[in-house]
């Protein structure tokens, strides 16, 4: 078994999905959490691109959160059962990151208080359009797969990615996904999976 060390900030952010994937796989990893204050003060670990997360595999670094997610998923069977399924997983993941989240986070950062702005205005301009462009695609795909998982008949890393977003969205804004009961049900399903279920109880 390789030695894994995941290095990220001391919050969930882009580190949460890799942590959840390790938990799902039942694989031990060193969960290194860097305080904002230390990072800002220049006390930074070595990173290939000056950013985190970085996954160290037997001391060798892999940067970029999706490269990390896909690496863990490929090692432990969460990347889709065929090359085409793996590609569909990638497609939904990129749709989430590039098409949905770049828009949605303009609202979400204001909602969380990380950035200044008018919450209601940002919600109308960015939050709702982003939500209504992305989640119907996932619902359509869930109906197609019929398995409760987004691609194929087993959990993949994009299930973990989407369920994580559903989770942090509904924690802060309970009703935002009420028009998407399939998405809420999907989150319940993914977050009850063994390994992940236990992580969710102990995580910070």
């Amino acid at each position: 078994m390789p030695e894994y060390k995941l290095v990220y900030f001391a919050f969930r952010g882009l580190g949460e999905v890799p942590r959840q994937l390790f938990s799902l796989a039942g694989v031990k990893f060193e969960n290194v959490r860097i305080e904002d204050a230390d990072w800002d003060a220049g006390k930074r670990p070595e990173t290939p691109f000056g950013q985190m997360p970085v996954l160290f595999v037997d001391g060798k670094p892999i940067p970029q959160s999706f490269a990390i997610n896909r690496y863990i998923a490929n090692q432990y069977g969460f990347a889709g059962k065929t090359p085409f399924e793996a590609a569909l997983v990638d497609a939904f993941a990129d749709q989430f990151k590039v098409d949905f989240n770049t828009e949605f986070k303009k609202y979400w950062y204001v909602k969380q208080g990380d950035e200044p702005g008018d919450v209601e205005e940002m919600k109308a301009k960015h939050g709702i359009p982003a939500r209504d462009s992305f989640f119907p695609l996932v619902v359509k795909q869930l109906k197609k797969s019929g398995s409760g998982f987004i691609v194929g008949d087993a959990v993949t890393w994009v299930d973990v990615l989407v369920a994580n977003a559903t989770d942090y969205i509904t924690v802060l804004e309970k009703d935002l996904l009420n028009d998407y009961p399939e998405i809420l049900a999907h989150k319940e399903k993914i977050h009850s999976l063994p390994g992940l279920k236990e992580w969710l109880k102990i995580r910070e």
Partner: protein, 215 residues
Amino acid sequence: MPTYKLHYFDMHGAAEVSRQLFILSGTPFIDSRISKEQWPLFKETTPFGHLPVLEVDGRPLPQSQAIARYLAKEFGFYGKTPFESAWVDALADQIKDFLTEMRPYFDVFVAGSDKEKARVEIAMPAISKHFPFFEKAAKDNGSNGHFVGDSLTFVDVYIADRIVTIDGMLPGFADAYPSVLAIRDKVINDPRLKEWIATRGTRRVAGEVLVDLRK
């Protein structure tokens, strides 16, 4: 062999990498170009409402990077180990991050007014933020004309195409990054791409063309 059909607009954009992967591997594919007029109707048939879309025996796959990775895996342009593949992915995502930061400059270049202001305020910072990391990655790999390992991966093709495109707007912008330019050079001088690079400007604007460069 499956039937491949790649739909995109009549430009390099997000599809050229995948077109080049077909050419480099000697795999025939139907090169489908959608015109502005055809787009509104065609859009309704796509999985996510955007292009490119790759049809594999009629099954549609959206998202340019998912398409490129799928083809790269099929054709052997995805690194030799899982760790190498992860680095191909990481560099591809980092290039995409760079392009996202360049987007406002591209918009101004195409349709805006103060190109010089955008060059100074948007393009130069993005280039000087990201290219030193690309140069280091290329150097750490031995400055051998590849980002990862000792053979072509799709991220080499990706950076080469983007450098060619951006060089058209900002000539010489990457001159300070010789190991990265060596990657571009190796791709554009690849004999398998020669005919494609020489003739692609003369293809029809819209419609489907079977591209089969097998000799």
